[in-house]
Amino acid sequence: MVAVSFKDVWKDYGSGAVAVKELNMNIKDGEFVSLLGPSGCGKSTSLRMLAGLEHISSGEIIFGDKVVNKLPPKDRDIAMVFENYALYPHKTIYENLANPLRQAKVPADEIKRRVTEAAELLEIEHLLERRPQELSGGQKQRTAIGRAIVRQPQVFLFDEPIAHLDAKLRARMRSELKHLQYKLGVTTVYVTHDQLEALTMADRIAVMNDGVLQQFDTPQQVYENPANSWVATFVGEPGMSLMEMEMTSVEGDMALAFGSETIKLDQKSAARLAAAGKINLLVGVRPDKASVSLEPLPNGIQCEIYSRQLLGADVLVEVEIGKSRVRAKADTSFGGNVGTPCHLNFLSENLYFFDAEDGKVIPQ
């Protein structure tokens, strides 16, 4: 168990392709950190640099107080679960699990005990004599996790381990992985493109885009106080809608101009926007904080329904206002359909404000 830090880490593949830019991150001992981002954002590259499978172009990666840049993977005391499981196809499940222990020169009876223990924990003890190709996706994935946990390493590295499982199994594995990590207390870095996985499992989330770390904070903070408009739209499902607005004033009070409509501001938001002094804003609203109605509302904005999707307990209505589209949740009894005129409403204290130029959040 060890703390892990990235210090000014860069990764470029030559020919101008930069995968990771100036990554700085301190992961505490025993913490579960999730690297979240779309594909190609540099999250897997960062993980592979931690594992020692990828050369670090510049900067330092530190385990505890030791710089590991030049250490090969075998000397880093890590365990990794790969996206495609990477089991040894020609070896039995038992041998797959035993391999890390054999490399560590653990005595045979100890290997047997620990493999059996790990297999029982993951409920694969009846599969030990089989080979990987005879196993289902979920079983393979458990084997891959088993191979990681038999050895009690310093750091767990997960590279989208459950991305290929079906939705139901994924939900179950999320809670099992979380439970396992909590029980073992091993520092964990978990790469995923699925914001739900990150939100549900991680102690802290590192959101990455285009090789740049966007925000590194607790799931709640990332969700409630996104650092910029990109994080705001990436995290949360269904995602936040962004609207382009301008600062204006109505009868001496500060307000937002949204197309031909104006939106009045509460005192707190008005003070915040006044302090920032920006004119062009990106204003975000989460679907569950917006409402639509077929009847005119006091502060409603005139709009038209673009699409209507049933989510189960409620309906996601996407409405069109000029060029902008805004998603709002409505009751299943909501009667409107595509093309129906309706009214959108939200409270200004539930809005998120970002600078239209660089997308950064307007400070509180």
């Binding site: 075998k74 365990a79 990477a86 391999n99 490399q103």
Partner: protein, 293 residues
């Protein structure tokens, strides 16, 4: 999984004719391919008088003459007692298996590194490697003989093994590189994370290239075993193999057909099962990894 059901569509006349013609063609082909082997086998266990007794043209009933003989192993015994075929058989075995082992060991390591690393001129290097196989052996045998002569390798088994390896190695590298390309990186990365160094990780994934290695070893043995040119020129003197030795049974004053047939059987027999094996390995190797799991 694709459906295994055989769907029959309406067939044209040409297809119907082909359906009847193809078995006939195959039957002829079978006779054409197997008859020489059969005659060789029969002639090797007949004495010379029986071997040369053939019926008159048109006398189909006389075909029984072909089977009317008392089997004898004198030719085989003579080969080993008078003509040193024990030594030649040994030379053949050592040269072919030896060169196969060396070529596959060096070839797999080279193929692995060429598969896994990226560097400038890699394609040119690969092309250069295979280009050494583009010239026919006859074209290089004279300079090769001069070189081998100057380092005293002519007529020795190591010399013959080296010559075979020179010609098998480029082939090994190209063939095995294809197999390594098909093995996902993640498996050896997992091995490294498990605590193995790069070489141990390479050994871990080596069994996954087994179909390729198996096929290559067999092809390599077949090449060396059947080779005539290297064996007569580089091997002449102390390292003659079976084909070269068989050729020497043809003397200006006497062609010893019985012995030649027996030598032919000795040379061919061990390669038939290998030929069947290579077919299985090659098919397994070519389809491996073609369809994603």
């Amino acid at each position: 999984m694709a459906s295994r059901e055989i769907i029959s569509y309406d067939k044209g006349v040409a297809v119907k004719i082909l359906k009847w013609v193809s078995p006939v063609f195959l039957a002829f082909y079978l006779v054409w391919a197997l008859l020489p082997l059969f005659i060789m086998l029969m002639a090797s266990i007949k004495d010379l008088l029986d071997a040369f007794s053939v019926p008159e043209p048109g006398d189909w009933a006389g075909i029984t003459m072909f089977f009317d003989f008392s089997p004898t192993f004198t030719h085989y015994i003579a080969l080993f007692t008078e003509n040193n075929f024990g030594t030649y058989l040994f030379n053949s075995l050592v040269a072919s298996i030896g060169s196969a082992i060396i070529a596959v060991t060096l070839g797999s390591m080279c193929a692995y590194s060429l598969s896994r690393s990226e560097f400038r001129f890699k394609k040119d290097l690969l092309f250069w490697i295979i280009s050494t196989r583009m010239a026919p052996i006859v074209a290089v045998i004279v300079p090769l003989y001069a070189i081998f002569r100057s380092v005293d390798l002519v007529g020795t088994l190591p010399g013959l093994i080296l010559a075979f390896t020179t010609f098998n190695l480029p082939f090994a590298i190209w063939m095995l590189k294809g197999f390594f390309d098909g093995i996902p990186y993640a498996i050896e990365e997992a091995a490294q994370v498990d605590g193995q160094n790069r070489f141990q990780a390479f050994l871990t994934i080596l069994p996954l290239a087994a179909p390729g290695i198996g096929a290559f070893v067999i092809l390599c043995i077949l090449f060396a075993w059947n080779d005539f040119l290297f064996s007569t020129i580089i091997g002449s003197g102390g390292a003659k193999t079976l084909p070269a030795a068989t050729k020497e049974l043809v003397q200006p004053q006497n062609i010893d057909w019985g012995k030649i047939m027996a030598a032919g059987v000795i040379t061919t027999a061990p390669m038939i099962p290998l030929g069947l094996l290579v077919r299985r390995y090659l098919v397994a190797g070519l389809t491996m990894g073609a369809v994603k799991e």
